[in-house]
Symmetry: C2
Subunit: 215 residues, 2 copies
DNA sequence: CCGTCGCGTTGATCCTGATCAAAGGCCCGG
DNA sequence: CCGGGCCTTTGATCAGGATCAACGCGACGG
């Protein structure tokens, strides 16, 4: 979109997710992938929709804005995942590449795509509904703990989790501010529950404790 | 079974909802409807799933609980709407009748059901994702305003909105406490933006103002 | 007719997380 | 090697909504 978006919400670091590029792409065979640089828009709210997208490598954020600029990220999509489902003729959300990202466009008319569509949509629905519990009823520590556990689970249950998104992205996903996210990170670290080998990497040290915290 | 429900509570509410009972039931023709008294469970988290449900009359709440009892209602379903979609073999949520409610059970294997399934699921997905913005980024007044507008819209855009759910249900849907919900109701009323003809009825007086408040 | 119960409203105080502010690291270009 | 910009961290203060508490109100049942 505009310079506002760029200045506020783009990030430099691309390529972090390259390690996790093992997308199984049963639907995408033969389709060419398009590269989206970090921060670039895949589609915008209000645009006509109709296609589906699959992340080949990298990561995508799906979000909405309020008129005063407040942003809520409703979902992150990592390698292998599909997004772009809409109930309507036009998009209700924005989609942006978080880091350098390869995207395959799928024509939803293809029969093998249709077959996969419903399960994927249902998966997204359950995830969104579970996120409602986090945003509606959990405190800052619980939200961050849940985020770590979710990311770990989605990356195969590894204790070492790498994520491509900035603190601002995490904050806008969890309904918090960057300061609060940062403070919770520090607190969990000082308690020895996690380690922070680098800015965008977390190692879960006390899994059980973290699970208990996520309530 | 009906007699149970004719207790004062749903007596009022039952009558109210009758106005809106024009569910188009293309999927349900021939299926018998089951009656669920107010507060009764339709299915529980963890139960095996597989069926779909359509509200014939009345209203349903879909929710999740945290271990300490905190509750988040992820959706209300009114007459004509379908629910019970799951990505998995078992339910991730609870479903309860809010007031005396008639439910049709649909076998999702029926081909005509399958055809309707995807659009319904997508509709639910979009609604859940929009609710994420409310819970993550809007303050108490904005949430309540959005709730009134949503209910009005779902009841055909009428200015007079009647809802079957208690303040506690509304609070648990909006991620607030009953006290806060009550205070916001009072504030909007004192500003002349709404009128409260009865406990479970709101009349939107200044629609434009309310829309602006919902941001 | 009164007492009780469940739900809703209103008031007083507290606390979590937001906001405001400043400084610290990291990466880049020069 | 240095300087600047961006992201992150940390600190101080503020405020919105939660919590605690009391009361109102209508609907029953005795």
């Amino acid at each position: 979109m505009t310079s506002f978006e760029q200045s506020h919400y783009s990030n430099q670091l691309g390529g972090i997710l390259l390690k996790h590029q093992t997308p199984n792409t049963p639907l995408a065979s033969g389709q060419p992938a398009t590269f989206f640089p970090a921060g670039s828009e895949i589609y915008a709210q209000g645009e006509k929709c109709g296609n589906l997208y699959q992340v080949e490598f990298g990561a995508v954020r799906i979000y909405r804005l309020l008129s005063d600029g407040r942003r809520q990220i409703s979902a992150f999509h990592l390698a292998g995942e599909m997004f772009g489902f809409e109930a309507d003729k036009s998009h209700h959300f924005f989609a942006e590449a978080i880091c350098g990202t390869g995207i395959r466009v799928l024509r939803p008319s293809a029969s093998h795509v249709v077959a996969e569509l419903l399960p994927m949509a249902l998966q997204s629905l359950v995830r969104a509904q579970e996120q409602l519990l986090v945003l509606g009823r959990q405190n800052a520590v619980e939200r961050v703990a849940a985020f770590f556990l979710e990311m770990s689970e989605r990356q195969g249950g590894l204790r070492q989790v790498e994520f491509p998104m900035s603190r601002l992205d995490i904050a806008d996903y969890l309904g918090l501010t960057i300061e609060t996210v940062s403070r919770v990170f520090s607190k969990l670290k000082s308690k020895g529950i996690i380690r922070l080998p680098s800015l965008r990497c977390v190692e879960i040290v006390k899994l059980r404790t973290l699970q208990d915290m996520a309530a």
